[in-house]
Subunit: 159 residues, 4 copies
């Protein structure tokens, strides 16, 4: 089994630009996380977008769906901003024959305190243990995109 990981940006990949005094979406953090955990299952990371998920256009989402559809791997993880993770998961619903898990983080992986490694750890197990389908892994739970919502006050996903 080999896990294919598409990265699209979002909080998980934000780094601080000292020149601009603000956060920018930087290169994918997920490879660092997998290396730090010495993950021995085969995996491959491909960066297909570097955007805050609020800025994703319909065209971006179509591109993501096409990339996932055409990818030969059965086990697929997408790292994604949390604000529109559910919309992207729903857009992927026409794809069959794959286990697709979306995850991300509320706090950037570059921060001392972050949910990034925890969430990616959960996504890596979920993609191996769940049957064919589209799922979100956030806050220690597996969510069905059709029944999940992001609680903007509590900053967490709920079903």
């Amino acid at each position: 089994m080999k896990i294919k990981i598409f990265t699209t940006g979002g909080s998980i990949d934000k780094a601080y630009s000292t020149q601009e005094s603000r956060l920018v979406v930087a290169g994918p953090q997920v490879a660092n996380i997998l290396d730090e955990a010495n993950v021995t299952i085969e995996w491959e990371v491909q960066s297909i977008l570097k955007k805050d998920s609020l800025e994703l256009t319909d065209g971006d989402r179509e591109m993501i769906v096409e990339q996932v559809r055409q990818d030969p791997h059965r086990h697929i993880i997408l790292t994604h901003g949390t604000d529109t993770m559910i919309e992207t998961a729903q857009a992927l619903s026409s794809i069959t024959g794959k286990v697709i898990v979306l995850t991300g983080s509320m706090q950037p992986a570059a921060f001392q305190r972050s949910d990034a490694a925890f969430n990616v750890g959960g996504a890596i197990i979920a993609v191996q243990t769940l049957p064919e389908g589209i799922y979100l892994v956030m806050n220690g739970q597996v969510f069905d995109p059709d029944r999940a919502s992001k609680n903007l006050v509590q900053n967490r996903f709920e079903s």
Copy 2:
């Protein structure tokens, strides 16, 4: 669903004693990890041992088995040292009707670089998605304790 987490010590819980200039097994780190990830599923942590897993006696292992057997929860995680995690998992094999996941870390959770949050994230998902049985979650994989071994050179679990 509520997840019961027993902690037994091991590298994951080691902290630096400045007075002794060495590492000691300190209080459980898993609650910090779950708080940092804002885990919304119900969970409860109980510390039953604070030992390096090489120092676990037969009596310690019997006590662990009894604690797990008598616990009313179906979904159980044990954090444990990696050196004898497999032995403890095998000792638990007589218990039925529960999903039991053992995890830990190669690098203490207190270090800047550690696999602790990643592994706990995986264990939390594994205990919810796997059927009844005893499992190890390490290095991004679910292992059957009867087929797993710790590779002491590569510092990782293999099957």
Copy 3:
């Protein structure tokens, strides 16, 4: 000797707002840094502003100068954003009889990799070892505000 520390905001105090998906100036980080280093000299932190230093107005700067002037302590540190740290240092130049050290960080203290603790460590020593005057401590050096500039390309202070 007691060191008085005024905090004014800047990168050093930025935290990630998950609700707004951006950085905001949060509470002062300097007390955490001093606690983590178990600093035994007496110190006191007072937050007088929480602003990105590019947003400081002339009125803000006058307020800062008045706070420092009226403060009874001889040894004073200001944590401050780096973009206008030099301007504030120059505005303080009319104050005599005090050792005043401005510091801050290029990367927020909340990041895994940050110059915050290093810079504060330098400022704490500088304020005790330097004679009366106004100084910047950044990038491992003590700068005279009248001869320093921030190199925006290299992201560092130079003289």
Copy 4:
């Protein structure tokens, strides 16, 4: 001005050996710390020992003194274990014409929470601002080795 940094081991340089399940003195951390702070003054690191300071022999200490004496630089920092930092500082007292600052950390630099960067930041400033002599920089203070002691209960240096 160029700062020469000799490293001798101690808590600051301890890393976790997953194979031995214990801490070992690893390569010097001070270069990482200086890089992270983008230190622009010229510096050079030389590792001359990798020992817990309780294990330093008289011969080790003589070697350290000779290295420092023969070094052509005027500004010298030693990173050192805290338990016998004072003894080594006193052994260096016959050296004149140099500014020599000893520092280290109570918690290893590899830990999430550590005084290492703070202390090195202080030592870098102290070596530039202090007159010729031998000093300890720990806990936010400059200590005279002849009047300092390590409080083993409070884990801090005092004078």
